[in-house]
């Protein structure tokens, strides 16, 4: 039996994780946010809702995802055992769909007739379009014009799934601008629209709700570890952009204080350059997109664009619960560069026959160090949150290979 401690009891009634989180939205959205919170609290306590969610997770998403002992990576790194939670095997190829499924089921329950979402590289857009298609709800996805150009296959996938893709030219045309535009759409059509946010950020209740839907990752992994090796890992590791896969992995372990929780941010070209997306390691607390959290910003409080080779980590903020866990030191936040991620992308493909997404390839770079640090008696659990098929063209380009 684990004893409940303070860490898992957040957020408070105001949607705060310590001094982070909250509801920093325009007045037009406040009634919506409050109605969503109420509807979510009711759904969460309704066994019918939970049963439907779990049924779709099993039969549509393909859960539980396996826990896999990465023997050859373990051997190669020469230290602790490396266990991979295989969330890249989910339908649509990443953890994103866990959350989309939960939110779209909630939208249906609330009688909403229209789904919107923001997306960066397109993974969350594809997952949202997928679930919206399954439930016959019209879906509109906001995507930065720059990303639309770069991610043509995902744009086509979303269209194939019946979604309308808006190329956002406002601002600088990236993920944060897509999120601004989705918020503008929501403010304009508040009654009929459900906004499916893709990460553990945004105004309360999104950070808690997305975390809850993603916590299936950590719950499964925790039980699988106990079942397979009879003990919990020494560390649970995941990459972090907004932080939804990491929060989903970490949350069920928050009360297991012997389990180190390690989030890996994108260091881009290096934390000593302006080109990174490490909000915790290189940012300061601020207010954006409905919550108070760590942000990349300049001396005037203007938001700075993140950079990472991985479009999924390329966001100037981070979920407020991570900001909290960072400040209270329950979790550790480190980083990995573009080059390290590229190396791990290739290494994991060759040694394990698993082409990882560039996002979890970042996590793998720190798993390598940690394996050496913990030694052969150590056990590391890493969330393989997405598969790398989407990244193949970009990695080929970066490596100078013509396809």
């Amino acid at each position: 039996m684990t004893k409940p401690n303070a860490f898992s009891q957040y957020p408070d009634a105001q949607g705060r994780f310590g001094e982070f989180g909250g509801r920093y939205v325009a007045e037009t959205l406040m009634p919506n946010i409050l109605a969503l919170e109420k509807a979510y609290e009711a759904a969460k306590a309704d066994p019918t809702f939970i049963a439907e969610f779990e049924d779709f997770l099993k039969n549509y998403v393909g859960r539980p995802s396996p826990l896999y002992f990465a023997e050859r990576l373990t051997e190669h790194f020469g230290g602790a055992q490396i266990w991979l939670k295989r969330d890249e095997l989910n339908h649509t190829g990443a953890h994103k769909i866990n959350n989309c499924l939960g939110q779209v089921l909630l939208a249906k329950r609330m009688g909403k007739t229209r789904i919107i979402a923001e997306t960066g590289a397109g993974q969350h857009g594809v997952a949202t379009a997928t679930v919206a298609a399954r439930f016959g709800l019209p879906c509109e996805v906001f995507m930065g014009a720059t990303d639309v150009e770069r991610q043509a296959p995902n744009v086509f996938r979303m269209k194939l799934l019946g979604a309308k893709v808006h190329a956002v030219t406002a601002g600088r045309g990236t993920l944060k601008d897509a999120m601004n535009e989705a918020l503008r759409d929501w403010v304009t059509h508040p009654d009929e629209t459900f906004y499916v946010i893709g990460t553990v950020a945004g105004p309360h209740p999104y950070p808690a709700m997305v975390r809850d839907f993603q916590s299936v990752i950590g719950r499964e992994a925790r039980a699988q570890m106990l079942d397979r090796i009879g003990r919990l890992p020494d560390a649970a590791v995941a990459c972090i952009g907004g932080g939804s896969n990491a929060m989903g992995l970490f949350h069920p372990f928050l009360e297991d204080e012997d389990v180190r929780l390690i989030g890996v941010e994108a260091a881009g070209k290096g934390l000593d350059t302006p080109d990174h997306a490490a909000s915790l390691n290189g940012g300061e607390p601020g207010i954006l997109h409905g919550n108070r959290t760590y942000l990349l910003q300049d001396e005037d409080g203007q938001i700075i664009e993140g950079h990472s080779i991985s479009a999924g980590l390329d966001y100037p903020g981070i979920g407020p619960e991570h900001a909290f866990l960072h400040d209270v030191k329950r979790a550790e936040y480190v980083s990995a560069t573009d080059d390290e991620a590229l190396d791990m992308f290739q290494l994991c493909s060759k040694l394990e026959g698993i082409i990882p997404a560039l996002e979890p390839a970042h996590a793998l770079a720190r798993v390598r160090d940690l394996a050496a640090e913990l030694g052969p008696d150590g056990i590391i659990l890493m969330n393989m949150c997405g598969r790398g098929d989407k990244d193949v063209p970009q990695v080929a380009r970066t490596l100078g290979v013509e396809l």
Binding site: Q14, G22, R23, Y24, V25, A26, E27, T28, L29, M30, P31, N32, A170, G171, K176, D177, N180, L183, R184, V187, T188, H189, P190, E284, P285, G286, I287, L288, H289, G290, R292, L295, Q297, E299, D300, G301, Q302, I303
Partner: protein, 261 residues
Amino acid sequence: MSRLSATFARVKAESRAGFVTYIMAGDGETADLLDALPAAGADVIELGMPFTDPMADGPTIEAAALRALDNGMTLKGTLALAAAFRARHPDTPLVLMGYANPIHHFGYANFAKAAADAGVDGLICVDLPPEEDTELREALANVNIAIIRLATPTTNDDRLKAVAAGSSGFVYYVSTTGVTGMGKGAATDVSDAVKRVQTATGLPVAVGFGVRTPEEAAEIAAGGADAVVVGSAIVNANHDGGTKTALELVSGISAALRAAR
């Protein structure tokens, strides 16, 4: 009596609606435009503080914010513009409008002091709803700067109580669900809402979002608004034709408002 209260009392005595003009600090020749606005008929001036991610604004204000930032405008620069305006115009209320992060980064108490030193009368912070503005509101109250809250078509009577509590100066009624510059709400709906907000808050109500022409401004005024806010249209005129074009629009709307009741 504060400049805002005095101004609303004066326009009421003149049996007309006040005219609130919005411009973005750092977009074009802001200092000259600010200086000329009172003579062109502006009763209250809203000075936009540029932010990279203006989520509640439409494309016009967003583009203006990005131009201003590209021109090097900062929060400190905006406060300097306000101070220069105050030195030449002792009576015209000046309200800053923008988003929380630059103010948060500056520090709420530091900002309150600097804004007071610059002669600022009020603040509209779009992404600080009543639930989140306590710390800033208290800092501003210490220096007698009004926190002007937004009410919208989705603000029900319960929320109106929250909006009213701690509000001062005036209430900004957002005429439509949407972003700035889109097109205003139907006149009868707006008129009904204005009465509802006036009753609930006991404060003057200024109506904005999507009011573009002298005719639209006059229609809103005829519906009982204490003031009409025009933003995107002035920002557009300023960007397209410069200070002179912007001032022509301001004069035209001001004349229509004076003739309206």
